[in-house]
C-alpha cells in the first residue's frame, strides 16, 4: 500500500521499521527525543522503543561518534542524527580516521555499520555555519558511502538500505526537502545504494543534479521543454559509490551535460561528474557546464543569499548557452516565485 507522506515522515517510518526489525538498531543524536524530534524524523521513537535505544546525548559530537563506532564493533547498528552538517565537523576524526577505514585497516575483520544523518540547512539567514553542503568532502574519503535522497520514496528506501548496510553511510538530507511529499509504500523496501535514477527522460541534454537541486532541474526541464529543448534529468542519489554507468549511458545519448550541485565549485562533486564524462565520451556536442555555489561561505542576509544559490533560471540559461541562445530573465521564462527566495518554494512541495 502506498500513500502520500512527507520526506520527514518517510525517514521516521524507515527508522521505526528498522528498529522493529532488528534489536541492534539504535538511534542517537542531540535532540532526537526532544519535542521537535529532529524536524519530526524521530518523533515518538523513544516512547515506542525506550530510552535505551533512542538516546539524547551529551554535546560531544566527536566522542559520541567514536562511541557509536565502538558499539558497532560489537554488532550494534547505530543511527546518529545531527541537525546540521556543520555540527558533525567536530566528529571528522572519528568519521574519517576510524569509521571509514576500520574495515580496510584491520584486513576486513570488522566493519562499522554506522549511519550518520546530516541535515543541510538553507534559508532564513542560516548563514556560514548552518548551511554547509559538504558531500564532496565525504565522497572523497574511501570507505564511506554517501547518499543524498531527493524524494520521500528514496528517503525511506535509502535510509533502510543505509541502516542495513555493513559500512558507514553518510546520509545527507536537505532541510528544504523535509516537508515535500510523495507516494511512499507502507511496507519496508530498499532503494539500492549506488544507483542513480532518471527522473525525467529527454534526448537533447542531460542535467545531473543532487538533492534539492533535482527539483530545480525538473523545473528547468519544464521551461526548456517549452523552448523545444528536451532535457533528461538524473538524480544522483548516491555520490559514493557513484553510478558512472547510468551517467555515461545518458550523456552518451544526449551528448550534452549540465551538472547542478548546490555545493562549492572548487573540488566539488560537480567537477567529478564532468571529469567522469569527459574521460569516457568523445565528441560531446558542447562543453559540459556546472551550476554550483560560488566559492564563498553562505551569507546570512537574504539580500546576498538570494544570489548565492543557483536555481532553475540558471540551469535554463546554462542550457540555452549550449545552443548559443541568449540568456533570459525569470519573467521572460515564466518562472514565478510566490514566496521570497529564503524560504522553500511552494511549487516544490510535491508530489514527488
Amino acid at each position: 500500500m502506498s500513500r502520500d507522506i512527507t520526506y520527514a515522515q518517510a525517514l521516521l517510518e524507515a527508522t521505526d521499521q528498522c528498529m522493529a526489525a532488528s534489536p541492534s538498531v539504535y538511534v542517537m543524536g542531540l535532540g532526537v527525543t526532544d519535542p521537535k524530534g529532529t524536524f519530526g524524523t524521530t518523533l515518538g521513537l523513544e516512547q515506542k522503543f525506550g530510552s535505551a535505544r533512542v538516546l539524547d546525548m551529551p554535546t560531544s559530537e566527536n566522542g559520541m561518534t567514536g562511541i557509536a563506532i565502538g558499539s558497532a564493533l560489537l554488532g550494534m547498528r547505530p543511527l546518529m542524527a545531527h541537525q546540521r552538517v556543520d555540527f558533525a565537523l567536530l566528529a571528522l576524526d572519528q568519521i574519517i580516521n576510524n569509521a571509514a577505514k576500520w574495515h580496510y585497516m584491520f584486513g576486513g575483520q570488522l566493519s562499522i555499520p554506522l549511519v550518520v544523518r546530516l541535515i543541510i540547512g538553507r534559508g532564513w539567514g542560516q548563514g556560514p555555519q548552518h548551511s554547509q553542503s559538504l558531500q564532496a568532502l565525504f565522497a572523497h574519503v574511501p570507505g564511506l558511502k554517501v547518499v543524498m535522497p531527493t524524494t520521500p520514496y528514496d528517503a525511506k528506501g535509502l535510509l533502510i538500505s543505509a541502516i542495513e548496510d555493513d559500512n558507514p553511510v553518510i546520509f545527507l538530507e536537505h532541510r528544504w526537502l523535509h516537508n515535500i511529499f510523495g507516494a511512499v509504500p507502507l511496507e519496508m523496501y530498499r532503494v539500492p545504494i549506488g544507483k542513480a535514477r532518471t527522473v525525467r527522460d529527454g534526448s537533447d541534454l542531460t542535467i545531473v543534479a543532487t538533492s534539492h537541486m533535482t527539483l530545480e532541474a525538473l523545473r528547468a526541464a519544464d521551461v526548456l521543454a517549452r523552448e523545444g529543448i528536451s532535457a533528461e534529468v538524473i538524480d544522483v542519489r548516491t555520490l559514493k559509490p557513484f553510478d558512472t554507468e547510468h551517467l555515461l549511458e545518458s550523456v552518451g545519448k544526449t551528448r550534452r551535460l549540465i551538472v547542478a550541485d548546490a555545493a562549492w565549485r572548487t573540488g566539488g562533486f560537480a567537477g567529478e561528474i564532468i571529469a567522469q564524462v569527459v574521460e569516457s565520451i568523445d565528441q560531446l556536442a558542447a562543453r559540459p557546464r556546472r551550476l554550483t555555489l560560488p566559492d564563498v561561505p553562505t551569507p546570512s542576509t537574504p539580500a546576498l543569499a538570494d544570489h548565492y544559490y543557483p536555481r532553475a533560471v540558471h540551469i535554463v540559461n546554462a542550457a540555452r548557452n549550449l545552443w548559443d541562445l541568449p540568456e533570459r530573465s525569470e519573467a521572460e521564462l515564466g518562472i514565478v516565485h510566490e514566496v521570497p527566495l529564503d524560504v522553500p518554494d511552494r511549487a516544490f512541495l510535491g508530489p514527488f
Partner: protein
C-alpha cells in the same frame, strides 16, 4: 565478590614475570632486526613500559575487551594476541593480523577481544567507550580496558569520554600510561604543573587511582580492584601509571643524545626496570629459581625465532588485495 589481592599467588606472579620477559624479548628482537629494512612500517616500542600492559591484562578475564594505541605491541601480546600474526603484520605479510594493511600501529586479535589499535592520539578512546557501552547494552558482564598515553588527556575527546562513561556508569577501566613525553615534548610545555589527571576524572564522578607503572604487582592490584568494581556495575575507574619509554618515540634506537631528555633521567628509570625489579623480588622470596628464568627466556626466544621465520616466509598480499576490504558485504536481512 571482594577478592583479596594483597597476596598474589606464586603462579600468577611467575606468569606476570614470564609475560613481561616475553614482550621485552619480542621488542628487542624487532629492534635488532629493524635495520634489515624488512619491517617497513613505523614501530613504537614499549620497552620499559611492559608492567602496565601485563599487570592490566593479567587482571582481566579472557573475554574482557581491550583497545590500544600506536604503542600497542605490549598490550596486544599481554592480552594473548597471536605473536606470529603480529610479527607478520609488521613484515607487511598476508598472514598478518590485519592482512598487512594496518602495520604495527593497527594490531587486532578478535580471538582474545583485543579490539584494535589506532595511532591518532585519543582516537581509540571513544571507540573503547563505545565497546563498553555496547557490552553493557548486551548485558555481557565484560569489562573494557583502554590504554592511552598522558598526551591523550590533553585532547578534548578525553573529557567527552569521561563524561559519557560516568553518565552511563560504564564497565570501563581508563589506563593512562604517563611516560612523561609526547614524542619529544615534555610535560611542562603541555600541562600546568599542578595538573592532576586523576582529579580530572574524579571531577567527572569517576573513581581515580595513581600507581607505579613499573611495578607489575601494583598495576595488577589496582587494576583488579577497578575491574571488580566495573564488573559489579559500580562504574568506571581511571588509573594513571607513571612509567618511561626507554627507546625513541618511533624506531628501534635510543635517543638520549638528541637533547630533549637526559641520559641521567633515562638511567634513573632504567634502575626501575619493571622486569628486573619483579625478578629480584621473586628470586629473593624464592618464588622463582634463577635457572628457571633462564629456561623461560630460552623458551621465549625459541617461540620468537619461530614467529620471525613464519613472518619472513609468509607470502605478501596478492596485488589485487589493494582494493579488497574497502567495503564489507551487505548482510542478508
Amino acid at each position: 565478590m571482594a577478592n583479596d589481592v594483597s597476596v598474589l599467588e606464586t603462579v600468577l606472579r611467575r606468569d606476570l614475570f614470564r609475560r613481561m620477559l616475553r614482550i621485552r624479548a619480542v621488542e628487542e628482537t624487532i629492534a635488532e632486526r629493524y635495520a634489515e629494512q624488512e619491517m617497513r612500517c613505523p614501530i613504537h616500542l614499549s620497552i620499559g613500559q611492559e608492567a602496565i600492559a601485563v599487570g592490566v591484562c593479567g587482571a582481566l578475564e579472557p573475554d574482557d575487551y581491550i583497545m590500544s594505541t600506536h604503542r600497542g605491541h605490549a598490550h596486544y601480546l599481554a592480552k594473548g594476541g597471536d605473536l606470529r600474526a603480529m610479527i607478520a603484520e609488521i613484515y607487511g605479510k598476508a598472514t598478518g593480523c590485519s592482512s598487512g594493511k594496518g602495520g604495527s600501529m593497527h594490531l587486532v586479535d578478535l580471538e582474545v577481544n583485543m579490539m584494535g589499535c589506532t595511532p591518532i592520539v585519543a582516537s581509540s578512546l571513544p571507540v573503547a567507550v563505545g565497546v563498553a557501552f555496547a557490552s553493557m547494552m548486551k548485558r555481557e558482564s565484560r569489562v573494557t580496558a583502554v590504554f592511552f598515553g598522558e598526551g591523550a588527556t590533553e585532547e578534548g575527546v578525553f573529557a567527552e569520554c569521561l563524561n559519557f562513561a560516568a553518565l552511563k556508569r560504564l564497565p570501563l577501566v581508563f589506563v593512562c600510561e604517563n611516560n612523561l613525553y609526547s614524542v619529544y615534548s615534555p610535560m611542562d610545555v603541555r600541562q600546568p604543573l599542578a595538573r592532576d589527571r586523576a582529579a580530572l576524572a574524579q571531577a567527572h564522578g569517576i573513581e581515580a587511582r595513581k600507581g607505579d607503572g613499573n611495578d607489575v604487582e601494583e598495576v595488577y592490584r589496582l587494576t583488579r580492584d577497578a575491574v571488580d568494581r566495573a564488573r559489579q556495575e559500580n562504574g568506571p575507574t581511571f588509573i594513571e601509571f607513571e612509567t618511561y619509554r626507554w627507546r625513541e618515540h618511533c624506531g628501534p634506537n635510543y635517543d638520549n643524545d638528541i637533547g630533549y631528555r637526559t641520559e641521567a633521567e633515562f638511567r634513573a628509570w632504567q634502575e626501575r626496570c619493571p622486569i628486573e625489579r619483579h625478578k629480584r623480588r621473586l628470586v629473593n622470596e624464592s618464588a622463582i629459581l634463577p635457572e628457571a628464568v633462564g629456561e623461560m627466556l630460552d623458551a621465549v626466544r625459541l617461540e620468537i625465532e619461530e614467529a620471525f621465520k613464519y613472518a619472513q616466509t609468509s607470502p605478501v598480499p596478492a596485488d589485487d588485495e589493494l582494493e579488497t576490504h574497502l567495503y564489507a558485504g551487505v548482510r542478508p536481512s
